[in-house]
Symmetry: C2
Subunit: 129 residues, 2 copies
């Protein structure tokens, strides 16, 4: 059973950019556009261990993702959740999956592949309209 | 002197949706799509005193706003800032200004106008690409 409402799963299935909120170590929020994928249970994001976001989610694993529908901008989904685990992606397998999903034509693996990780996020709450 | 880079001010001038990150009283981040306006110094948002976001920003005034360019989705601007003051908008004047900016054809003032407020946010930091 997913907590994502059936009426809004298309916003996770389509290759839309999400805006990922994390909390910095001084308590300030940070929001950045991010690629993501959803498998029906977990949201996954690619990032590197050298980024500020990595420091944020290792200290405070709770996140929020906001996506709105470019065709109907008042239609949106917010998924709050927790980074349940962080997996290495030093071969860039997950990165390549996302690059394909978002149809980004780039040389693979990316230059920072040695630092690549996957945030595996369990949704805990939603808001939507 | 604004801290917004000239290269990215168009993202604040165009009527794009921003994704506003706030922090809930238990420390969890929350992100929602929002209308906004920028006058060169302050970002302004309309909200009501009955919303969860109002409780968030009155307890923790630091926010973050993320906007990406629908025409070039890897182009984005994040503005972090602080809610410097909250002004009443119980006549719906600012709400009407935003409804016009976003070309939303609706009856004015909105039904919740008696609870309407304006968040006046001073930018403190940016990230962009």
């Amino acid at each position: 059973m997913s907590i994502i409402p059936d009426s809004h799963t298309d916003l996770l299935d389509r290759p839309l950019f999400g805006h990922l909120g994390t909390v910095r170590d001084d308590g300030e929020p940070q929001v950045n556009p991010m690629w993501f994928a959803f498998d029906g249970e977990f949201l996954r994001f690619t990032n590197t261990t050298t980024r500020r976001k990595y420091r944020n989610v290792t200290a405070e694993p709770r996140i929020s993702l906001s996506i709105n529908d470019p065709d109907q901008p008042y239609r949106y989904l917010e998924v709050r959740g927790v980074v349940e685990r962080i997996e290495p992606d030093t071969e860039g397998v997950f990165f390549a999956e996302l690059a394909n999903r978002y149809r980004l034509d780039m040389a693979l693996p990316p230059g920072d592949v040695e630092h690549r990780v996957v945030y595996v996020v369990r949704p805990t709450a939603v808001s939507y309209q």
